[in-house]
Symmetry: C2
Subunit: 137 residues, 2 copies
DNA sequence: TCTTGACTTGGACACAGTCCATCGTAGGAT
DNA sequence: ATCCTACGATGGACTGTGTCCAAGTCAAGA
């Protein structure tokens, strides 16, 4: 994930081996790891990395808008590196697998003013649920 | 919430004072309490009610489809008694207030087959986010 | 009124995440 | 190349949310 590392460096981040490893672990499409999964994979490359550092680093990346925090199951939050292309999520109700999806249509235009209760609505998330091919077999 | 109590009784539920109080606490529109909030309010009427009973009762009501579990903030789950009218949620990003909303449009028809990855998609949730009137003032 | 199995209780436990004092080090200064 | 120092890493304690379990209690049918 040299892209992400470059952007972070450009923002004045001090580059440490821990941050490098966390960024590398998060590279790829359809990646939605929990903080502990990130920690486990990072520890594969850098055995002494602490949980606190992983939490700190993920939190900073989220604050910088470089990764997205997703909580689709009410359990552990998951971290999605695909922060620069708007997308929604499709979740398997059986095994929990998550895919990034791109619905057409704009939910914001589907919310009438009378249904906004005076809110200034600025964002939305859609979560689709169903059975993945493996679980419906 | 005699409605809910009636339906539960009709399903063979043993009616206890604890269950009655939990159902009563959940009565109303735009009610989205956490389990601990339900416990606190229930304890106002029935001081010895235990947390475990509140969790059990809420879990059973969810399983029966009489209330809906909502997790909009990655923190505590909230319980929504409005289970019999399809709706979505509008959440204040500042204070966390939740309102039930009814968007037009059907997100399911907005998800092309090519974007379903072989899933059998059966449900969806939309969460709108923004500032409520109090917080934007 | 009696009986019984479903329900409740409180406390221990598990998991996800945060906080903090201390130590280590990246990277600018010399 | 070395030194400095502020920023980052560490790990262990702590909090919040939720689950589990053995023992006691009670709703409701006989």
């Amino acid at each position: 994930m040299s892209d992400l590392l470059e952007r972070l460096r450009g923002r004045g981040w001090r580059m440490t081996s821990q941050r490098r490893v966390v960024a590398e672990v998060l590279d790829g499409d359809h990646v939605h790891l929990t903080a502990d999964e990130v920690h486990a994979r990072a520890a594969g490359r850098l055995p002494e990395i602490s949980r606190a550092t992983v939490y700190n680093t993920l939190g900073e990346m989220v604050a910088l808008g470089e990764i997205i925090e997703v909580s689709t199951d009410g359990r552990a939050k998951r971290y999605d590196p695909n922060a620069h292309h708007a997308h929604q999520h499709l979740v398997c109700t059986s095994c929990g697998t998550i895919r990034d999806v791109h619905p057409t249509g704009d939910p914001l235009s589907d919310l009438p003013a009378a249904e906004r209760f005076g809110f200034t609505v600025s964002a939305f998330e859609v979560t689709y649920r169903g059975l993945c091919p493996d679980c419906s077999a």
